[in-house]
Symmetry: C2
Subunit: 103 residues, 2 copies
């Protein structure tokens, strides 16, 4: 059976990866922007980002912009590849009508 990546599959993390995947390779998105886009709490988003970071799917950097600290997030090459495979797996399930069976 084609596997879905449980790290990515969780709804908030799926949205995070979908958002990051649309960016150019070196572009980053601000934590606050992501939090407001996804309508989640700081704590919730933070916990999900940690899981994605632990899997090596995203890079999280803290940087001062003027006197303001910002948390900037981007997808890693590994993360983009994993997201692409996950989307393929989802497509097979929802379009294939064969429950995601690999063969």
């Amino acid at each position: 059976m084609a596997e879905l990546d449980r790290v990515i599959h969780e709804p908030v993390r799926l949205r995070v990866m979908a958002c990051l995947d649309t960016l150019e390779p070196k572009d980053e998105v601000d934590f606050v922007y992501l939090r407001d886009l996804l309508e989640v709490t700081d704590g919730n988003l933070g916990a999900h980002l940690q899981k994605l970071e632990e899997a090596g799917y995203i890079s999280v950097k803290k940087r001062f912009v003027g006197r303001k600290p910002k948390t900037l997030i981007s997808a890693t090459r590994k993360g983009r590849a994993a997201f692409g495979e996950h989307v393929e797996g989802l497509r097979r399930i929802i379009e294939g009508g064969e429950a995601g069976k690999g063969s």
Copy 2:
């Protein structure tokens, strides 16, 4: 934010619903067939079917076919509708590139 249905989103349950959704309205699928298709254990599939049944998304009937008891599963109208909405939500996320934002 467009909501994903967490009852359906779980990978095994997503596959179960995708499989049942391909059937004609009155058709049923056998528990053993589904278990083998999804490559899960009896216990695992049973637990996921119970969640789907509690949500009113599937109907589970036990029936004797000859001397053999069979467990037959079908999607309810409510289950098909919920699955359809869920698939739409997933599509918005993976194709829209806007993290599933509703507006």
